[in-house]
């Protein structure tokens, strides 16, 4: 019965469909290629549209405004209206700029943004490219995205654009280091770079395969990496660094609108601008998806086996539901932070990456190593204590002096 | 069928292109780019020999390439730092004009 395992419903349906066509290997090959790419290209832009609406609504409510409410029910058609507007706008290219690179930059930025999605495990057996080098592939392809941002800044032949581009490079290169170092702990304790293996390692398989429903739920939650000391700090470092990596507030210096107009986006209009915007959001999805995979248990969530099923692997709620729920929770946290924190200064930004996040991530690796060898009942509290002390200590030595207390004569 | 020869010819072509860049261009950064191209051509050679060699399970070609990439990264950082330092001194990126040893 195909309904035995709701979790694998789509996978099984696709498998049966492909089995029907097994006489035509070329068709099957093409279909496999399309099935692993088209859903990504269809679903994530749709998520992007929903997120722009969510972001505008959320930010508006945070500032006690109403937000878009004209296009469609509760303004839900606003993304469509924005898209049409962007398509119809004039595409302006600066005459002194570099025509070819000005055109190439948004396209080149979109390619890595979409490609990295392929290594994310959306559910069991639903990883477009279950590569053995998954995590490193993610960072390798992700690191390409600095180049188009620079090219956009340079090709516009505009001071603000160039400043934004240079800021973007400096920021992305610096924050990649804590980002990678915080994932090292997960890779170390899982013993694999494969994203599927990393998710499977965050489940207590004996409990999940057992008969007790409560244990099935707990077995898919308790072993998430975020509940360990190194995982908790690692997740925090990863999240903060990923905010900087995708140029979100409070690290949106490359496109700081109050200082340098819009940074590397200044000279872009129409659909090229929309492409930049989309690439930014899709890389935000990708990096949140990686955070979910590495620290928040990927597709596993409070889930039980359907009562009518005999398959021990079967799950009631499909795994991708949990994956997307967690991913959107992180995106909402990003929006919340955007509505709260003001932008950093450039020197603070660099200092935060190099003097605070990087040493903390390095210490975290040592703690993770010790945690692996110590018994859990020592390692767990001791890890938290050590990391908390390090956190406070690093904060203290980075605080700097406020200078002499100012007095205002006329105020 | 792609054989070892194809990779070797490709690698030789790339190496010569890199060498051409180093020998004929005047700009210091382009000279460095030529050196990077040559290093990459050598890496391709190493991997091709590993792939078509008899001992796939030893990973010697892979590891050699890994180390050579690391060395190339170090070389690039030091080389570009030197380009900047030399530029600051001579006020030109032109390697032809850097023809004095002191002052």
């Amino acid at each position: 019965m195909i309904l035995d395992n709701p979790d694998q419903l789509i996978v099984n349906l696709v498998q049966q469909g492909l089995d029907l066509l097994s006489g035509f290997p070329i068709v099957v090959l093409v279909l496999c290629l399309l099935l692993s790419t088209v859903p990504l290209i269809a679903i994530f832009p749709a998520c992007f549209a929903i997120t722009t609406w969510l972001e505008r609504k959320g930010l508006a409510r945070i500032q006690n405004r109403i937000g878009p409410n004209r296009a469609g029910w509760f303004g839900l058609l606003q993304p469509v209206a924005d898209g049409i507007k962007m398509l119809l706008k004039e595409d302006i290219v600066p005459r002194a700029g570099d025509q070819l690179t000005h055109f190439l930059a948004p396209v080149l930025l979109l390619v890595p943004a979409f490609t990295v999605l392929a290594v994310l495990p959306f559910s069991r057996n639903m990883t477009p490219a279950a590569a053995d080098t998954g995590v490193i592939l993610f960072f390798a392809i992700g690191s390409v995205s600095t180049l188009p941002v620079f090219l956009a800044g340079w090709s516009s032949h505009n001071k603000y654009s160039l400043l934004g581009g240079m800021r973007a490079i400096a920021q992305m290169v610096s924050y990649e280091i804590p980002l990678v170092l915080s994932t090292v702990t997960v890779v170390m304790l899982t013993g694999s770079l494969n994203t599927v293996r990393i998710v499977e390692a965050q489940q207590v398989s004996s409990w999940v395969l057992g008969d007790n429903a409560a244990l099935q739920i707990l077995g898919q939650v308790l072993k998430w990496n975020v509940f360990t000391p190194w995982g908790f700090i690692g997740f925090l470092i990863f999240f903060v660094a990923s905010l900087a990596e995708v140029n979100r507030c409070p690290f949106d210096l490359p496109e700081a609108d109050s200082e340098i107009v819009a940074g590397h986006l200044t000279e872009y209009s129409g659909f090229k601008y929309a492409l930049f915007f989309m690439a930014e959001y899709i890389s935000a999805f990708a990096i949140s998806g990686l955070a979910v995979t590495l620290f928040l248990g990927g597709w596993s969530g409070p889930n039980i086996r359907p009562w009518w099923s005999d398959d021990p692997q079967a799950l009631l709620i499909p795994g991708f539901v949990w994956f997307f729920l967690k991913m959107f929770a992180l995106i909402l946290a990003m929006i919340w932070i955007r509505g709260t924190l003001p932008r950093l200064r450039v020197d603070h930004l660099m200092g935060f990456a190099w003097k605070f996040l990087m040493p903390l991530a390095l210490l975290n690796i040592f703690v993770a190593g010790a945690y692996y060898y110590l018994p859990r009942w020592i390692g767990w509290p001791a890890g938290f204590v050590v990391l908390y002390v390090c956190y406070e200590w690093l904060g203290r030595i980075n605080r700097g002096s406020l200078g002499p207390k100012r007095t205002y004569r006329y105020a | 069928m792609v054989t070892l020869q194809h990779y070797l010819i490709l690698s030789a072509v790339l190496f010569s292109i890199g060498l051409l860049g180093v020998l004929t261009r005047r700009h210091a950064v382009i000279v460095l780019i030529g050196i990077e191209i040559m290093l990459n051509a050598a890496n391709l050679n190493l991997i091709a020999f590993w792939r078509f060699g008899p001992h796939l399970e030893n990973f010697e070609g892979l590891l050699f390439t890994l180390f050579s990439i690391a060395v190339a990264a170090a070389e690039a950082s030091v080389g570009l730092a030197l380009v900047i330092a030399v530029y600051r001194h001579f006020k030109t990126p032109d390697v032809e004009k850097m023809n004095t040893l002191r002052e």
Binding site: D132, I136, T146 | L14, L23, R25, I47, A48, V78
Partner: protein
Amino acid sequence: MNAAFLILSLLAVAGALLAIRLHNLVHATLSLMFFFVALAGLFVLLMAEFIAAVQILVYVGAVGILILFAIMLTPHVTGENHGRLCSRGWIWGLAGAGAVFLILIAPVLLMAGLDTPPATAALSPSVREIGLVLMTPYGIALLVMALLLTAALVGAVVAASPPARDKDEPKP
């Protein structure tokens, strides 16, 4: 001949040629990036997936960006008003490169007569195996590499930092 190999090798050769022939340095760096990516594709064809990832991470993500930074830190470098592209005596450079090419290609062409061993059965080494080899027999090499990278880091900072100002000199 394999279509993937043909396309990737043409891309690599075109990227390398453009990288050394273009006037505009940023364009040259861009085509160098295409060369790096094409080479990573070739590595994937040769079943060295991990090396391909490292190639993109190090070359496109780090070395290329470093070159761009160097270009941006030295003013008057991006312009195309350089006049001559090649150095004096470029003809000798061309001759030298051609000679090296002939020397490199000769053994390959001579070898074409011999029967080469066919490629062994597909084996995609897992990262775990590479890591184990890297840690046990090549551990010392790894440590030396770490030392080299640290030295390069310090050296680059020292070389690129501006010369120290004299203490007697009045501050601007």
